[in-house]
Amino acid sequence: MRGDLTLTGAVRRIEGPLLYVKRSASVGLNEAVQIIDSEQRQRVGRIAALDEDKMIIEVLESTTGLGLGDTLIRLRAEPLVFPVGPGLLGRVFDSVGRPVDGGPPVPAERRMRIDGLAINPTARALPRDFIETSVSTIDLMNSLVRGQKLPLFSCGGLPHDRMATEIAQRARLRGGEAGEFAIVFVGIGVPHDTAEAFRTAMESSGALEHTVMFLNRADEPSTQRLLTPRFALTAAEYLAFTEGRHVLVILTDMTNYCEALREVSASHGEIPSRKGYPGYMYSDLATLYERAGCIKGLAGTVTQLPILTMPGDDIGHPIPDLTGYITEGQIVLARDLDRKGVYPPVAVLPSLSRLMDNGTGEGYTHKDHPNLAHQLFAAYARATRVRVLASVMGMEGLSDTDKRYLKFGDVFEDELVKQAGPRTLEESMEIGWRLLRVLPEAELSRLSDAQIERYIRQEAELA
């Protein structure tokens, strides 16, 4: 590695987050730089483009106060890295990995690239370990497994933070030993109270010493917002793949991240794609979300629970849309359920866990779990169709079967979706079977004869 090199008086132009700098030394694309202003304040940047005599430096913090003549550029001759080591847990960092809890710096055992490296697909182990979150609509209907990336698609004002906090507090593996776990909380442009509420909750459940927090304040510049999840995921990878822990990363709010990406792209003068977001937003988000996973032969795992608020409550908006194309499913929260007082307000039909088939059923959860979930989905989908019908022409025109579906839809939301406290998977399944007894047996074509006999007939007799 070359040593650091400092350029003085080389800045020719400052435009938004970009510095146009005379190139008088050998530097490479993407390498990190430090920008030092007249008051010796340091900022982080990287080389965005370069030719023979100029280079464009993207300042990853605010450019306020930078001048042309008195700004120093220190070339680091390596890409941006995060020095990590033992003792990350229990700490709080700012957007760019500097401790803000008053504690000492973390001993740098390894200097890891914040962009990470793509996990070799052949080295990936298939995520299969079911995580019980104690939320019925997740455990029973859209199961989460270790190493999955499963976002919450929410709307402004819905209790997504509360849900994520509860999941962080309660998530556990069933039966077997849980292994060392860790939680990485990444606040991206969120208000201080959100982070503080999370911290208090973790403290009260005694999990604070297993938690690392990265906080990007709402008033920090957008370029910096793009770095926060990268520093945090680097820490997560260290905790998982070096220290062997099962890491749950909560990223909130990814919408703020995407807005920052749009802003930075615009400041680079790039041609926007849909709704002004850059054409590479899919690839950019993928470089974050794909950092979840399990690796053959390594003990730890990285599970991601990103939270995003859908602009205009629209799931077709580029932010949820591109996210959904990358993540392994999504848990969608709905305003109408919230209004009806249903907590957690999970809209079951548009929610999905793509890894559910890997982590449920015989040998994983319960052999009848998948069929029960499929039957509940089919029935609830039909119930919502009947609801539309009933809203047009009232109850009179409905057949007897349809009326029972209508009833099913209501109890499904009141008794399965809505929950006052945590539930085990068994409790959730029990409710599921009970609700299906509302419907005529002939309608249950996703269940086998044996399942009908066991859970619908016999249990009905017992009841």
Binding site: L29, N120, Y280, P318, G324
Partner: protein, 584 residues
């Protein structure tokens, strides 16, 4: 080799000052780490190249070295059963956990070669000079399509490395060609054939909704558009597992790493229903996941089709699954944007349509240079933003495919799989393919297909009507139509890829199921005409069996089909004779 020096670099694109001749699409090696790149524009003393690896650390002055050849990939027997990157370099073995630039594995491997030509024999382009003894599809070694000549020497039967010279040809112009078992071929140049043939037989997929309603011909092209989570990948994987092609080329283009891991995890343990051999033996996986370099994503689609054509030229039927072509189009858009080209619709370059056309055009049933009948079938997944099919990639793709399998969000949300909307999807080669079904012993295929589609269409109409007048107010025949349409959906179109019994459905079983269901449709209409009410028909116990037919009628069990057939007759008959005992 021509040289150039980097002048400007930004993202995956660079400009370099040239010192010597370069050609468009020439492969280049970039920087001290010799990253692979390709010339995409020449402009006076400058070239523009895209780089297929992470460009971190590249700097002005770094060398660019021309290869003198268009971007080419090494084709050969070592491809089958492997997972390779977008430029056909094997992904590093498992012990390399992270994919850093340059960490590609070695292809290696030795193969048992049997000569098929003699010294002195004249070989035309594409002729076979050897075969490889191994499990799985028959692999042959052929003269590259742009070479011919007289055999000067050929090795004896034995084990050789993939790159060893096994045959030496002297061309008419006196040039000597040392041929290994495989050869290099430029990815962007379609491999020549003797003749393109028209479609004749279907590619059997084992998926009822496809084979029976919307078949794709061998050598055909199908598109599979759908929003996220509607089932593109699961369907592509199901086709890769169960379709009756000899070789599968599966390209994961800009999609998830876990999906590649899943294929690698699952395929070796599954057997081809026709040959009983492990599926992995007939499969080539090309992986350029969403977090791998974008430019290689663009190339991976061409790489995949070139590999498919290579196996086709051995006389094999090849199916190419591309998941997802939209990510490829986006890669085109990204590189085009960096070149400052004028953007067209949704920011895509104006040449998007012609690139798509060129790609799908490479699917065909052909007579190969060696004179054999073979085919490449393309199944392309499309990921339209917000599931809107009017966007450029979907709408252009639609112009070039002959089978259109539209995935539907509402069906997917109800977990009704495969979530193909039968009223929006279509297939254009039905007339030709009906003949194949006739030969297979199902002369009614076409009529049955037509009847199902009509029933499904009526269902939609009647449901709309029921929304206004109420279901009870519909005439009895129409209520029965709704019942039958519902039955066909549940009992025939529903097919879970995760059901060990039902994930694959042979054409024979499809025919048997269809006959049985149509029997119910006919008999119930008669029963109704004889005075029974639709409610009574709806309550016969055999209906539950028929709704679960996919699970309950296994492969090769004609007895069970007969039992159900008689149950239909008996139970419906009992309604007629006033027997009320089945109404609960």
């Amino acid at each position: 080799m021509s040289k150039a020096a980097i002048h400007w670099v930004g993202g995956p694109v660079l400009r370099a000052d040239v010192k010597g001749p370069f050609h468009v699409h020439e492969a280049v090696s970039v920087g001290v780490n010799e990253l692979l790149g390709e010339v995409i524009q020449l402009d006076g003393e400058q070239l523009v190249a895209q780089v297929y690896e992470d460009t971190t650390g590249l700097k002005p002055g770094d060398p660019v070295t021309g290869s003198g050849l268009p971007l080419s990939v090494p084709l050969g027997p070592g491809l089958l059963g492997r997972i390779l990157d977008g430029l056909l370099r094997p992904l590093a073995e498992e012990s390399v956990h992270f994919y850093a630039p340059g960490t590609v594995g070695q292809r290696g491997g030795r193969f048992h070669f049997v000569p098929l030509a003699d010294t002195g024999e004249t070989l035309a382009p594409g002729a076979f000079f050897g075969r490889i003894v191994r499990e799985g599809p028959t692999m042959r070694c052929m003269v590259p399509p742009n070479v011919s000549g007289t055999v000067e020497s050929i090795v004896d039967e034995g084990e050789y490395a993939e790159t060893d010279t096994v045959c030496v040809l002297i061309a008419d112009d006196g040039r000597r060609h040392e041929l290994p078992m495989g050869h290099m071929w430029p990815v962007r140049r379609p491999r020549p054939v003797q003749k393109r043939l028209s479609p004749e037989a279907p590619m059997v997929t084992g998926q009822r909704i496809l084979d029976t309603l919307f078949p794709v011909a061998r050598g055909g092209r199908a598109a599979l558009p759908g929003g996220f989570g509607t089932g593109k990948t699961v369907l592509q994987e199901s086709l890769a597992k169960w379709c009756d092609a000899d070789v599968i080329v599966y390209v994961g283009c800009g999609e998830r790493g876990n999906e590649m891991a899943e294929v690698l995890d699952e395929f070796p343990g599954l057997d081809d229903p026709r040959t009983g051999r492990p599926l992995m033996e007939r499969t080539v996986i090309i992986a350029n996941t969403s977090n791998m370099p974008v430019a290689a994503r663009e190339a991976s689609i061409y790489t995949a089709i070139t590999v498919a054509e290579y196996f086709r030229d051995m006389g094999l039927h090849v199916a190419l699954m591309a998941d997802s072509t939209s990510r490829w189009a986006e890669a085109l858009r990204e590189v085009s944007g960096r070149l400052g080209e004028l953007p067209g619709e949704s920011g895509y370059p104006a040449y998007l349509a012609s690139r798509l056309a060129e790609f799908y055009e490479r699917a065909a049933r052909v007579r190969t240079l060696a004179g054999e009948e073979a085919s490449v079938t393309i199944i392309g997944a499309v990921s339209p933003p917000a599931g809107d099919f009017s966007e450029p990639v979907t709408s252009h793709t639609k112009r070039y495919v002959r089978s259109f399998w539209a995935l539907d969000r509402a069906r997917a949300q109800a977990r009704f799989y495969p979530a193909i909307n039968p009223l929006v999807s279509y297939a254009e080669d039905v007339d030709v393919l009906a003949r194949w079904w006739q030969i297979q012993g199902n002369p009614d295929w076409r009529i049955h297909r037509q009847r199902i589609l009509t029933l499904l269409e009526q269902q939609e109409k009647l449901e709309r009507m029921a929304r206004i007048v109420g279901k009870d107010a519909l005439p009895a025949e129409q209520q029965l139509t709704l019942l039958c349409a519902e039955l066909l959906n549940e009992g025939f179109l529903y097919q879970s890829s995760f059901s060990p019994i039902d994930r694959y459905c042979s054409p024979e079983r499809q025919s048997a199921m269809l006959r049985l269901l149509m029997h119910f449709v006919d008999r119930s209409a008669e029963t109704l005409a004889a005075g029974a009410g639709p409610e009574a028909i709806g309550e016969v116990p055999v209906l539950r069996r028929l709704r679960r037919l996919g699970e309950e009628l296994p492969e090769d069990d004609p007895e069970e089909a007969n039992r159900l057939w008689t149950a239909v007759d008996r139970e419906l008959g009992e309604i007629n004779t006033g027997g009320d005992q089945h109404a609960r």
